[in-house]
């Protein structure tokens, strides 16, 4: 059961779907090989061609006294031969295909499941585009006309006048319920136009290069044409309606239901006309703002738009695929205009606040060359990696265990790995730091948003954890207890480290 609100929203949904069905009607068409070859297998272009034929049929049949037979359609298709690159002789075959196979669906009735809001069920609705009259002339069905109108004509300036005209005629004839419908339609049209203008202005502001001059002219002309004379006409209708209302009020001798209904309708019509008049003048004024904005923005970005663009793929992507790794150092510069300017590092505050151990690193004698900033792997990288390896080792060892000793862990390591982890006393340092935490709340760590900063060589548990595979960090808490017992870690041939053993408890 659909709520009343949704029901109102979906009122006449069938009508909307009808258009979709109609489009499907000719998009889901048979595609014989010879036609596909003729139109170079290009579905998009074929869609264009079919719609062109529909427009041609519409136009021909709307003209008084003109007929539209296969002969006329063939002549039209012959004219288009160059555009679609087929032989002009093939026009007749194409006309047969489009008229018979596509627009009449080979004579088969096409049914589409369509939702009926009143009954709240899907019903099969038939669609039809073209009818062949006995005389051999083709006419479009009403739904096809309506569809084609909606694709262009309805949006045109004429439409507003037509609604206004219909409103006027209905009022003259005293058909107030229909007049009311027209007046509501007018309100929605003027609001629609206002929305389009707002949307257009927003798009201008966001990215003027995406907005074409044609589009601008179309919208400005539409506003101009629809509204310039309308204001006067609408005021006249308003006078007419007011007079009718007055007459009804005067004649309201009998308190007839019918009359009060009419009076109600007329009052709403009056209100709607007032809304249209006021919104109309606002839209009209907005047009001037729009013109200013558009010309200003165009002026601003004109020079860059004028220069033309280079081929992204050819000039950037492909050359990047050819460079050698060593040369790739330069490619960071490709982004220079997009990245914000930064003052040189020698002036940057971070220089003063940078970890002071940099100086000590310089005099330390180890195999890592840190002189060159270009060096691929700095000491910080080496340390980060070592810390990650230690945490990775501990967590992998902890997998499937609830309690273990630190000594168990390092005894399980290969000699080579242990020696690496003992470099710069990293392993004992890490253990002491973990002990310093006492308890590591993994659930809490997982729940927080991880915005990890890569450390510059110091131990950072959060960073190390973020580098581990997910399955290793699924426990709840880890508790670390110091034991009185001492252990010895042998660092190379003649060096050893004595430290307390630890008990590590893993809670899942």
């Amino acid at each position: 059961m659909i709520s009343a609100e949704s029901k109102e929203l979906l009122q006449d949904f069938e009508k909307r779907m009808q258009f979709v069905n109609l489009i499907k009607y000719w998009l889901q068409r048979s595609k014989p090989t010879e036609i596909r070859e003729l139109l170079h297998n290009d579905d998009d272009k074929t869609d264009n061609l079919i719609l062109m034929v529909m427009v041609f049929i519409m136009d021909s049949t709307l003209r008084y006294g003109e007929r539209c037979t296969k002969k006329e359609i063939t002549a039209f298709l012959r004219e288009l031969a160059d555009v679609y690159e087929y032989e002009p002789e093939a026009a007749s075959m194409l006309a047969d295909y489009i008229v018979t196979d596509v627009l009449q669906s080979d004579g088969k009735i096409r049914l589409f499941d369509t939702f009926n809001t009143d009954e709240e069920i899907f019903r099969e609705k038939s669609s039809l585009i073209l009818i062949e009259q006995q005389s051999g002339s083709y006419v479009l069905t009403n739904e096809a006309y309506e569809f084609l109108f909606r694709t262009k004509e309805i949006d045109n300036e004429l439409d507003f006048s037509v609604n206004r005209f219909k409103l006027q005629e209905f009022i003259k004839r005293g058909n107030y319920s229909k007049a009311l419908r027209e007046s509501r339609e007018l309100v929605s049209r003027v609001r629609n136009l206002k929305t389009r203008m707002d949307d257009f202005m927003l798009r201008c502001r966001t990215n003027i290069s995406e907005v074409s001059i044609d589009e601008y002219e179309e919208i400005v002309t539409q506003v101009k044409d629809s509204f310039e004379d309308e204001n006067k006409q609408l005021s006249e209708i308003r006078t007419l309606v007011s007079a009718k209302l007055q007459a009804i009020v005067d004649a309201e001798i009998r308190n007839d239901d019918n009359i009060s209904m009419t009076e109600h309708d007329i009052r709403e019509i009056l209100e709607n006309i007032d809304t249209v008049i006021s919104e109309q003048s606002r839209v009209f004024n907005q047009k001037f703002t729009l013109s200013d904005l558009y010309s200003f923005l165009l002026d601003d970005s004109f020079s860059y738009l004028q220069a033309g663009r280079f081929d992204f793929e050819q000039e950037l992507i492909q050359p990047m695929q050819k460079i050698q790794l060593q040369d790739s150092k330069n490619v960071g510069k490709l982004f220079t205009p997009l990245y914000r300017p930064i003052f040189p590092h020698m002036f940057g505050l971070d220089f003063f606040y940078r970890r002071q151990n940099t100086i000590r690193e310089n005099i330390r004698d180890d195999e890592i060359d840190i002189v060159s900033a270009e060096n691929v792997e700095t000491e910080a990288d080496v340390r980060n990696k070592r810390y990650v390896d230690i945490i990775n080792g501990l967590f992998s060892y902890a997998e499937n265990k609830s309690v273990f000793f630190f000594s168990d862990y390092f005894n399980s390591l290969s000699e080579e790995r242990l020696q690496e982890q003992l470099k710069e006393k990293s392993l004992p340092d890490v253990m002491l730091k973990l002990y310093g935490y006492g308890e590591i709340d993994m659930a809490d760590w997982r729940s927080k948003e991880q915005d990890i900063i890569v450390p510059v060589g110091e131990f950072d548990l959060s960073y190390c954890l973020s580098e581990l595979p997910k399955e290793l960090v699924q426990m709840n808490t880890i508790l670390i207890h110091r034991l009185d017992e001492e252990v010895t870690l042998s660092n190379g041939a003649d060096d050893s480290i004595r430290m307390n053993n630890f008990k590590i408890e893993v809670k899942r």
Binding site: Q321, Q324, S328, K329, E377, I452, V454
Partner: protein, 230 residues
């Protein structure tokens, strides 16, 4: 020199641009012809480009600017001290990402209004697979791809598919680029998809402008020359 010129320059250096709405006073400065011409001198001498568009004034360092432009080392710092191979991959991914968003050939530059992570990962994986396949089948693949680029494709295809944020995973690499782009105000998170900011939309026509072609060539060829000398 007018003090306003320096004030405007300093303001522009803060985040790289000013807007008519938010920094209206400074924006007005630029309408003063004397200030504008002094800025033009700075533009020449300090090696940057002023780019005015849609109510914003941008200060864009030229790639040859050694004073305040970002280079690969800055990129390296911001994506977390990765190795050169990873940096090459990340830079290439960044260009590929821009191409996904602005690969239009005709009148329309923008080809996507937003990009989803899954879409990008699929597209990029597909691209790398294609490169790999061509690398194996084409006789003269080396004319099209460098060995290091073929390794880049392999490197990507070997990345894990889990959600860890390390560069061992596809997600991790993507997020490094995204974070950089987010910090540079080029993309923003719009309910789980990544949308170009006004800044990126503004700058792409400039970025791809024919006027910059020589600049682009010199960056891409500059590396080769250096290699030849060493």
């Amino acid at each position: 020199m007018k003090s306003e010129s320096l004030k405007l320059f300093a303001k522009l250096m803060e985040k790289g641009y000013i807007t008519r709405e938010q920094e209206s006073v400074y924006y007005e400065y630029y309408n003063d012809s004397e200030i504008a011409s002094e800025l033009a001198v700075m533009e020449q001498e300090l090696d940057f480009t002023l780019y005015k568009t849609n109510g914003r004034l941008y200060l864009l360092p030229n790639p040859s600017n050694e004073l305040f432009s970002q280079d690969n080392n800055d990129f390296r710092r911001s994506v977390g001290n990765e190795k050169l191979e990873e940096l090459y991959l990340l830079n290439y991914m960044a260009v590929f990402l821009l191409h996904e968003l602005y690969g239009g050939k005709g009148n329309t530059l923008q080809t996507r209004y937003y990009i989803k992570e899954s879409d990008f990962l699929n597209e990029f994986t597909l691209h790398c697979e294609q490169v790999r396949a061509e690398g194996e089948s084409l006789k003269n693949a080396s004319a099209k791809y460098s060995m290091d680029f073929l390794r880049l494709a392999d490197n990507w295809l070997a990345k894990r598919g889990d959600e860890s944020i390390s560069t061992d995973t596809k997600h991790g690499c993507f997020m490094k680029i995204i974070r950089k782009f987010r910090d540079e105000e080029l993309l923003y998170d719009a309910d789980g998809v990544w949308k170009p900011t006004v800044k990126l939309n503004d700058l792409m026509p400039y970025y791809l402008s024919q006027n910059r072609i020589a600049e682009i060539h010199s960056i891409l060829e500059g590396g080769k020359k250096d290699a030849g000398n060493s």
